[in-house]
Amino acid sequence: MADPAVYSGSSGRGSSKAVTSPSENYCLARRRTLQVAVSALLTESGFDSAEKAAVETLTEMMQSYINEIGRCAKAYCEHTARSVPTLSDAVVTLIEMGFNVDTLPVYAKRSQRMVITAPPVTNPPVTPKALSAGQKRTHPPHIPGHFPDFPDPHTYIKTPTFREPVSDYQVVREKAATQRRDVERALTRFMAKTGETQTLFKDDVTTFPLIAAKPSTIPYLSALLPSELELQSLEETDSSEQDDQTDSENAAGNNLTDDPSADKENSILPPGSVVPSSKSSEENLIDNPYLRPVKKPKVRRKK
């Protein structure tokens, strides 16, 4: 009773997916076989019928178990630098999964086992051949034959698609200069178009537009600090940055220890705050009054 039910369900699904791809068919066939095996085992164990959901669950578990064995065995084999698992791999896997291998032969030869008919042969799916271009290279003699084949030549062979660049120094410089000038001109013109401008000629505002001079609030910053562009090139050429960085960390550390100590609790802090600051400057042994922590007001000193 159970089987037909299972069957009908599966056949129904099979019919509904009659037009599926061969690889899907293959999967379905395999699963069906597995289901049969599970049902046989159930019968063997004395079940008369089973709910569909239960059978499905058990099938799923079985499949997972077998998958795991396969995966593990493969892993063991690859671990020992082989490509095909051997019996020992499978055995180790089983042991690893907590299965008593010794009981396996006995179980296989048990008397009441049911024989399942071989599943109908279905063709394993054929992976569609990728578009191959050109002749694949054969392995050179020092590479064993079991190694994978070379990929298609187009994946590794350079195929120039442009003209040889002009490497003439003069032309390059010329180009770079022109390009830069064009960029600059376009950029400044754009800025001038979109912002306020000043002009040198009253009658003609467009020929020589000047971006209007805007006073800034802190003019020395932009005038003294190197621009980002310059900084970039500096980093590329300069390696003396490291010292500076450690320095700034020190300074920052000291600042940090200064300030929090200010905000935290009052009475206990002085010793507490001294420790980190002295620690951070220990290597330099800097005793500078400006780095010392700020003292708390004495209570007595109020008026």
């Binding site: 000038r181 003609d204 001079a213 562009l229 300069d238 300074a251 500078n288």
Partner: protein
Amino acid sequence: MVLNSFLCLAVVCINNINFQRKSVIGYVELTIFPTVVNLNRIKLNSKQCRIYRVRVNDLEAPFIYNDPTLEVCHHESKQRNLNYFSSAYTAAVSAVDPDAGHGELVIKVPSELWKQGDELKVLKVYIEFSLDQPKGGLHFVVPDVEGSMAERAAHVFSFGYQNSTRFWFPCVDSYSELCTWKLEFTVDASMVAVSCGDLVETIYTHDMRKKTFHYVLPIPTAAPNISLAVGPFEILVDPYMHEVTHFCLPQLLPLLKHSMSYLHEIFEFYEEILTCRYPYACFKTVFVDEAYVEVSSYASMSIFSTNLLHSAMIIDQTPLTRRCLAQALAQQFFGCFISRMSWADEWVLKGISGYIYGLYLKKTFGVNDYRHWIKEELDKIIEYELKMGGVLLHPTFGGGKEKDNPTPHLHFSIKHPHTLSWEYFKMFQCKAHLVMRLIENRISMEFMLQVFNKLLSLASTASSQKYQSHMWSQMLLSTHAFLKSISNVSGKDIGPLIKQWVDQSSVVKFFGSFAFNRKRNVLELEIRQDYTSSGTQKYVGPIKVTVQELDGSFNHTLQIEENSLKHDIPCHSKSRRNKKKKIPLMNGEEVDMDLSAMDADSPLLWIRIDPDMSILRKVEFEQADFMWQYQLRYERDVVAQVEAIVALEKFPTPASRLALTDILEQDQCFYKVRMQACFCLAKIANSMMSTWQGPPAMKSLFTRMFCCKSCPNIVKTNNFINFQSYFLQKTMPVAMALLRDVQNLCPKDVLNFILDLIKYNDNRKNKFSDNYYRAELIEALTNSLTPAMNISNEARTVVSLNPDVRLILEEITRFLNMEKLLPSFRNTITVNCLKAIRQLQRNGHIPSDPSLFKSYAEYGHFVDVRVAALDALIDYTRVEQSPTELQWLLDMVQNDPVHYVRHRILGMLCKNPPFTRTSDSILCNEALVDQLWKLMNSGTSHDWRQRCDAVNLYYTLFGLTRPSCLPLPELGLVLNLKEKKAVLNPTIKPEVSGATLIDTPASIGIHGVGMCYQVDEEPDPVSLGVCGVGQPPQGLKRKAETPLGSPPEPGQVLQPQDDDARGGGGGGGGGGRFKIRFNTMEEEDIDMETVHDSQAFIHQHLHLLERPSTPGKEPPSVEQPMLSLPATPAPVFSKETTSASSKHGSDHGHHHHHHHHEHKKKKKKHKHKHKHKHKHESKDKDKDRDNSHTYSNSPASGRSIRSPSLSD
């Protein structure tokens, strides 16, 4: 103060600094030891401070606050001549001069303490004060952005020219009054207060929102050496010297780190040569925005301009910043630690600090750079002295003579640092260090350093003593002590040297020429001197002459004497024809020379006069062109090379060209010489335009040095690792652009070449920034500009633009616009673009228009940009004679927040004046005269330097006498109806009295006795002529100076013409008065009685004070009744008051600004104040004369008169 008590400790406490309102509140507590019994008045210096209360030993003390420098010439007279102003200003400064024991703030010691004074007990003077929006002394920088004051990088710092500490707290503002200090500053918790001395502790206030910085300065220090800087500074402890701390504004820390990374080397250098440790326990450098000067040194700290900071990519700024640091540090030793005894001794300190700074330069930048620098400084001082008259290092005043002015050629008095023009002061410093170098030449450097060491060790011993020991005066350096120390250490007499260069002003001017006498094998050298023109003096003494002959270089010491001009120098080399022989040079080197150019009969290669620059001189020497060329090529001294380059300008020959080109190519040669050679080559090329062969000068050279081998029209990508060639690469295009072709245009080749340099400039691979290089390329473009065909302003349109100029303009536009997006260091590119645009305008290519410059000159641009824009505007004002722009500039002088910019505007206006006293201009009108007068009279009282700048400008525009554009004073006489007598119109009279003060000849005329030595000093034939005669020739002389000069002498000339109702009698009277004033001293007293104006009265008085006691001539008759009989002055004063008030009535319009400096309370008592002033002056004087029985004139009696005005 100085005379009758000692200051031993000063506590300055500033409780509150409000950045929002720009105000400061604090108190000062001075501990004073009286040295006389019965000290009843204490005079202190204080300007612009509002004083709330004064207590002496916890007793409230009455005080008077009077600052005569607020408004120099009080009553609004029509008087407008500079002579008058200068004398009045000098008198005002003298009246509060702390060195003479005067001050603006007079505190009466409460009578309860007099008894105590008998026992010479300590007095504690406690003064509470506040400052509101200070215009001088302290500068607040508060950027107008969002956020807290710390986030806005708001900061405040003290500044000033010479002793200016009185601007921010009451003190004895003298360099010679030392005391120890306790300084406390309470600032916002996010801020740091940096001040002099050791930071003892930092304590939070109770609300934890502020902290108090406690400083102690145990080393006795003068008040002018105290400073303060408060701001949200980033702190950098010097990694090499932990007692040195650097402070900069937020975000600049990386720059600070780089810029300060070599400070320790400077420290080490000075400590080593002086064999003396840095005298203070710590040192602080603070970098602030809107600095007054680039470097200012105070006790244990220096304040610098933030613009000195730079990153590692900047080449040009690096040496400049190092120099500034070295200068600051040198002044720490001499100037801060060792202070000066009096103003007359300033030259010693400036000299020593400048001299050791020079030694640092020699060590760091090399001997070549040092010698080049000395030569530059020498040229500078010579140029100044020849133009403006002598610079006197050690002025002696008084000395038995009255009104003795050692520098009659100057339009200002050198009696006080505060009356000096800034330029003069710079030249003074320059001369001081040059003279120190001369002393070194005489006594050797070793002795020199020993002297310094001795001075320093004396001072440091003294500094550790207690004040009672009176050892502190060892920390003050005087000329006398310095000279004594020199003679002790070296055993040499440098008297003549000091007399020549220190006690006398002026430089020496030599003219040299020579002839070779073949028969005698003798070089006949003729050295003449010009010692009659202004700024020159006669030199008598040794002079070194170096002759390079074929057989070697020989030094000869000649003696310059009164009448001998010719000197025979025997030559060593018999004849030349030792072919193929190497020629030994001075430094022992032997070189091959091509001798074909030289004169076959003479063995002389070149001759140098005074090669070591051991005389402050200008030498004009004549020798043949080939000799200069040899000198340029083979003399190894950079100074000789520079001299040769200058001389070669006059010899535009192919040989000169070759010599210059060779020098240019030689990388052994000092780079500054090579740079100078570029410009000389350009000039020579222009002179030999028609015969010039080959490509434009320097083009092929530049191509060879800096362009690609494969494509010579393209410059290599920038690599500035070799600084010498970097500087050359920068300079050559600039010099090339000066080349002109036959049409007087810049050759097309050259222009295209420069445009290509700009086009192909590529800095991507460079370790250094190319901003200076690009800026120089813009300057090159500017130099290539020549006047346009069409000059009229309307015709200058885009269409009519010359195609070359169009290219230039395009580059400039692009540069200027790019700068907005990627600003360059110190905006060098904008600066040069502005210059270029002005040059385009001036040459008539684009319309002359000031609006662009005005926008760049606004506050909020980088200071260099502003100065460049202002320079362009000033040029525009001059060329276009535009009154609006001049007014705009003058408004900025009055209102700009940045002191430096105000100073620069005035300075640039002097350099490039819109008109001068000899030219006629529509700009020269009465309103302008009034405005400038007001500016220097009262508008600049907060800044000594700026006031002197204004005086300079006034002098440049109008000269010493009454400006010619002013209407003639209508009336020679004023009838005072109340007094029922005629008085000389004040607009005329004080001018004459001014003349007596300023012009030596006049004073000679008056006091004919004891003047012979003065006559000796004064070689000017005109004044010699004057001295016997007195006044009238004086008038003639001035007339000669000013072509339109009739107005200044109306007193004599005009009155007869002016003759009507009162003229008849009054004119005669006026004339008589002149006579009286100038001939007899006794009559001057009568004059004083009739003076109807209080201010003029003060001046009279002050002048009298200036005269040191010549008892016979002293006019005691007026003062005596005033002092001893308190009843008598009353009517005098009331008379004065009425006359003054009548004056108020008559021209009230001019009067309103009269009061605006004083606060309201004082306003009413204004007139009384003058009275007190007379009282003090006269009393002081009285005291000076006779210290023992002054006390009859007790303060009580004085008080009875002035009691209504006392504000206690």
